[in-house]
Symmetry: C2
Subunit: 381 residues, 2 copies
């Protein structure tokens, strides 16, 4: 790769312990890292207008290849001007390979050396996803950061099975690199697999490094294992990844997972959790997670957090949010999804400032202490 | 009523045929008429933030007493500062009496001279709604325009039944006036009943006039009758109403109904239709109603209406809106509800300008001609 030509590049501004403060430059704008990427599953971050997503502080969205290839279809999105035009999000988009959701959502899937065949969970129609087709789809979507196709297996799994999937993912990584070719305006990320086994993870990282990617993702975590296993694997694997490339922990997670990921040298995260939790009546704040379905909020005139920089945390009472959640009003999903995405961005923004200032471990400790202190005391009836 | 003290007043700025251009002044802001009031059923206009509702041009919202008395409860809303504070809508709110939805939604309802007893459609718990309790609830909600309790019956009905309900509504109107007392910061509207019978309608209007209200609503329409019957009744009844009080056609309607209502001297409208239609994939535009579920939009890169003053009509392609509707994404409901409310406000705003300019009948004819011309031709594949 000719670094002087490549329009997607990563620069590291500061480190603090293993935590890193960086920036990914892309033709569609910069991504400040550590970054949290809201998930725009099927061409929309659920219950938010794109400008509202941007206003939370998000520099980049994630799009799901699996959902988009089924509906509206990659060729259709390309004809309509690409995913950015389609959903009116002019800034960077990372797309996954589709592999993860083929495994979790589709029917009658069959994995071979060539790729994976499956039937749509929507109408049963047949599809094939190969490393080459995944790159093609992501290119049709006009993605800025493209992920290789990999095989992600659940944890715990037998070592033989973890090894097989890791080796297959490596070969698919190699084919992805060839298929990606020398696209200058996009980045291609490889994905480390190997389950919870340090030796396999190391082998995967070494294999990917020798292929050479613009960034390195850690896949196969947050697939059923305890947080301590995830953190152990992360601690083992990030030292094996190139310092001068961004590191992305896929599908993670809750705020505490993100803090722990940053502590272990991760630069990028994505997760549906904040928007999904919002649709289910949960609000993430500096007080931790607050369940607005709970009757304790029924008569509470206080806002969620009057010191929050997010207006939605200050303007609506807990009683109103409780009411919206109980009556299943769309506005409840809208407000709580916005509040959660906003809090996630506050968290990574706070982490970025703390790393720059060389006080990330203090920041992490203070943040955790606030979560542990919990919500405001119940108001006196 | 001492008009020099009353803080809610109506002034007529212009008339054009029977169409009227006016303004209702309230302590919470002016309402330009003809006005369309979006319905904020249970303390939220579905799928819009309150400031988005205001940005469409709405001066006033409608709140549903029936829904709010069940959840979260009128006393609770009062303790939380009233409905304006609760939902963060600082401008005027009109509340209905609850009667209409008791008839259409509740279980085991029983009407007596005293009022109506019923069981909640949510949990079966028992309630009583009398003219006095309805005023009390609407006052607890801190409504700016309060409606009397009435009995609204379907059409067609026997004359005897229409007469009985009309006479009962008149007596309830009288009790409502007494219960409302001399509140200076709110208005009380009476409701004309009498089905599709001109004599009964005239008797109802005369009875209400002699009680004396701040405004007069026409109830018991849009309850199953053809549009021509509604228009005939309106044409007969508005001349019987005081010129110096606003006239409100309850629960109406589609854009064409609103145009016809304005033509017949109506000043205020409300309807759930624009937001409900939005949640079902229908968009109201100057081209008429567009069903975005239709496959003709699947590959259409054009916006709904590139000449619309509403950015949501210009920024998203029909293909994208089709995709959001087909995938049942919340953003689809958000965008289309906003588009419909915005179009309704454009319509009444256009009518206001046309009445001022003495060209309302031309405006109505042009608007109907555009609707009749229909949507843009299908794009060439």
């Amino acid at each position: 790769m000719n670094k002087t030509m490549k329009q997607v590049s990563f620069s590291l501004a500061a480190t603090d312990g293993m935590a890193r403060r960086g920036r990914i430059d892309t033709p569609r704008g910069d991504i400040q890292t550590p970054a949290f990427m809201p998930v725009g599953t099927a061409g929309t971050v659920k219950a938010l207008y794109p400008e509202q997503v941007r206003e939370t502080g998000a520099d980049i969205l994630l799009g799901n290849t699996y959902h988009l290839m089924l509906r509206p279809g990659a060729e259709r999105v390309a004809k309509l001007g690409g995913l950015h035009v389609f959903m009116d999000w002019p800034r960077p988009i990372l797309t996954d390979s589709g592999g993860f959701q083929v495994m979790s959502l589709s029917k009658l899937r069959k994995i071979t050396e060539q790729g994976v065949t499956f039937r749509s969970h929507l109408d049963g129609s047949a599809y094939e996803l190969t490393p080459e087709r995944s790159i093609e789809i992501q290119t049709l979507l006009d993605s800025d950061i493209i992920m290789q196709l990999d095989e992600c297996i659940p944890l715990p799994s037998e070592k033989k099975e973890m090894e097989r999937a890791m080796e297959l993912s490596l070969r698919w990584g190699d084919r992805s690199k060839t298929a990606f070719d020398s696209q200058m305006n996009r980045a291609l990320f490889g994905i480390v697999q190997g389950g919870d086994d340090a030796e396999l993870r190391g082998k995967s990282a070494a294999g990917l490094r020798s292929i050479g990617f613009d960034g390195y993702a850690v896949g196969g975590l947050a697939v059923g294992e305890p947080q301590e296993v995830m953190f152990r694997v992360l601690g083992e694997i990030t030292p094996e990844l190139p310092v001068d490339r961004p590191r992305y922990l896929m599908g993670v997670g809750k705020p505490d997972d993100i803090l722990g990921g940053i502590e272990r040298g991760i630069d990028m995260f994505d997760c549906v959790h904040p928007t999904r939790a919002g649709r289910h009546g949960h609000a993430y704040t500096r007080f931790g997670v607050i369940n607005l379905k709970n009757a304790r909020h029924k008569d509470d005139p206080r806002p969620l957090d009057e010191a929050s920089p997010n207006p939605n945390c200050r303007r609506f009472s807990r009683a109103y949010l409780h009411h919206l959640v109980k009556t299943e009003e769309i506005l409840g999903a809208m407000i709580l999804s916005q509040i959660n995405l906003s809090y996630y961005q506050e968290l990574v923004s706070g982490a970025r400032g703390a790393i720059e200032a060389g006080r990330f471990s203090d920041f992490a400790a203070e943040t955790r202490a606030q979560w542990a202190a919990g919500d405001l005391p119940v108001i006196d009836g």
